[in-house]
Symmetry: C2
Subunit: 337 residues, 2 copies
């Protein structure tokens, strides 16, 4: 057990050269005789040498590890984003340390602090919903650790970001509802302090305004986008007898729960109320009726985030990317045949 691995000095001894020479040879430095280089490389291979990344990291101050922080690990959106990041950085020889904040500020802070201790060369993150104080991220930047934000932005300079175009997504979805003949369209937005809810509400309002419809008081509802809150919302509308002819939900979990309540109570979807969700969860297509939603291409977002990270590690300037979303139209919003 615990057999020691070969080091450059093992190789150096065998070949009667210095460790410097071995190091240079292995790193493709020009300052080694071709003949020596060959012998070193060959011997290294023979001895099964592999560089110790820890030692390299300590010496150079740079690891080959990137950190990624997501609010929730078991949400399709984040899983896809992780997969996207992985697909890019893996080829570049990096590892991925993943941590989830559970949407808690305190946990996020601890994670960032832990990563800040030289463990990673960069951090890709979607901020926790709870977070309003960004100094932990600020510290990272000050330490020279580049950050790439995705999904949720932070009001902080000096970092790259890649997000879906929430405004455009909500705008298109609302337009679609209008085209289906809906006039009284409600919007269910997220509660937490996250930039995207605002962008979506703006998109909704803009589309309504462009259609010459005034969004009245009470048309926009603010709550967590959980199934529980979605259910409660539907019950509330039912109780008030105030059913709109269209609703744009800022999340599919809430939309799904509301749909169930409506159906149970004889409110037909989409005939009575057309519904569009957000995120395009994998199960949307299996709902009854299948739920229209806005696809955000999280895998692509992850890939772009990773590319920006690689770029930042190379010393590139921060950059902001906004990706288009796509409205997936299914039964739940199709009033017109």
């Amino acid at each position: 057990m615990a057999s020691k691995s070969t080091t450059i000095s093992d190789i150096a001894k065998r070949l009667n050269v210095s460790t410097s020479t071995v190091s240079r040879a292995l790193n493709g430095s020009k300052l080694v005789a071709e003949e020596v280089r060959k012998r070193v490389v060959q011997e290294a291979k023979k001895m099964g040498y592999a560089p110790n990344p820890i030692a390299v990291a300590l010496k150079t101050g740079k690891t080959k590890t990137i950190g990624m922080i997501v609010p929730l690990i078991n949400r399709n959106y984040f899983v896809e984003a992780i997969a996207g990041v992985e697909s890019v950085i893996y080829d570049a020889g990096y590892d991925l340390i993943i941590a989830s904040s559970g949407n808690f500020y305190e946990r996020e802070r601890k994670i960032v602090e832990s990563l800040a201790q030289g463990k990673v060369v960069g951090v890709i993150a979607a901020v926790a919903a709870e977070t309003t104080d960004y100094s932990h991220y600020r510290n990272l930047i000050d330490k020279g650790v580049p950050i790439v934000m995705f999904d949720r932005l932070m009001p902080l300079d000096g970092m790259s970001s890649v997000v879906q175009d929430d405004f455009q997504g909500a705008y298109n979805a609302t337009r679609h509802l209008l085209e289906q003949g809906c006039r009284k369209i409600f919007h269910y937005r997220g509660l937490q302090n996250v930039s995207m809810w605002n962008a979506r509400e703006k998109g909704y309002r803009q589309a309504m305004a462009d259609a010459g419809i005034t969004v009245q008081k009470g048309w926009v509802h603010t709550a967590l986008t959980t199934p529980e809150e979605g259910e409660r919302y539907a019950r509330k509308l039912l109780a008030k007898g105030d059913i709109p002819d269209g609703i744009l939900f800022s999340g599919d979990f809430a939309a799904k729960a509301a749909m169930e309540v409506f159906t149970e109570n004889g409110v037909r979807i989409p005939e009575d109320v057309a519904i569009v969700g957000f995120v395009n969860e994998p199960w949307d297509k299996y709902l009854t009726p299948p739920l229209s939603s806005i696809e955000q291409f999280p895998y692509d977002i992850g890939k772009e985030a990773a590319r920006l990270m690689l770029r930042a590690i190379e010393g590139g300037k921060p950059r902001k990317i906004v990706l288009d979303t796509e409205l997936i139209i299914r039964q739940s919003s199709k009033k017109l045949k």
Copy 2:
């Protein structure tokens, strides 16, 4: 940018003590005067000192990082397992490096080799479907890096493992089908060289045998558990006019696809053929009809795996854990009212 962080020697200088003393004080060694300890700790806090994990790792040969290898990152089962692992090791102060093999042997080998270079103190893994040569894992063990397998086992000694009880799961599911009155029950098993398919087939056969039913040639079908293969399977049965009254699928993706084909072709579920899947994917309940399946509690599996890992890192003996599954009965298999 890139402000240097405080080191123990910074603290040592300020306090006019040696780095040894600082190190001891910070690590709670008994060999420091209480008064000195206090001053050191206080100064460390004041200077915002945080130990450099890289340096510690190089010195001690131990990181505070655990590696986790999954075949696919965007499968609910593995995502839940990851979440389970994370929930345990995080509290113990460990980080998680995650890598996915894509079910490819070559990629898995590279990942393991990369992790083997001292980056992690242990590896939690579910083997790639393609893998039949386990020497890369063998190397890890030889290096003293403990391994905990989950989901899929390896014919290798010296490692811990935690798996669901596939035999019992398949047995119960088959019993359930029998109780619904099914007699001609087919089994669709996975193709790849993975232990669990065998266990499931055995469970199926045992239940059939216990019911005094002979599993005839052609009743067990072997294929990848993908939607495409599931669809092809259903079409094949349809073409032969050989529809059984029950099918136990070893995966929900194949089951779902087959169900769609059956429904399109007028074969009623569960009246004509009762169907049970495996894994209990999150969307099972939304299918038409909702799909019965076997829940494997991947989150718990992840937690157990993490506990075994922590145990192994402490030098504990390897241990094998088998967790019960639970049959979730939905419409797709309910012939009896």
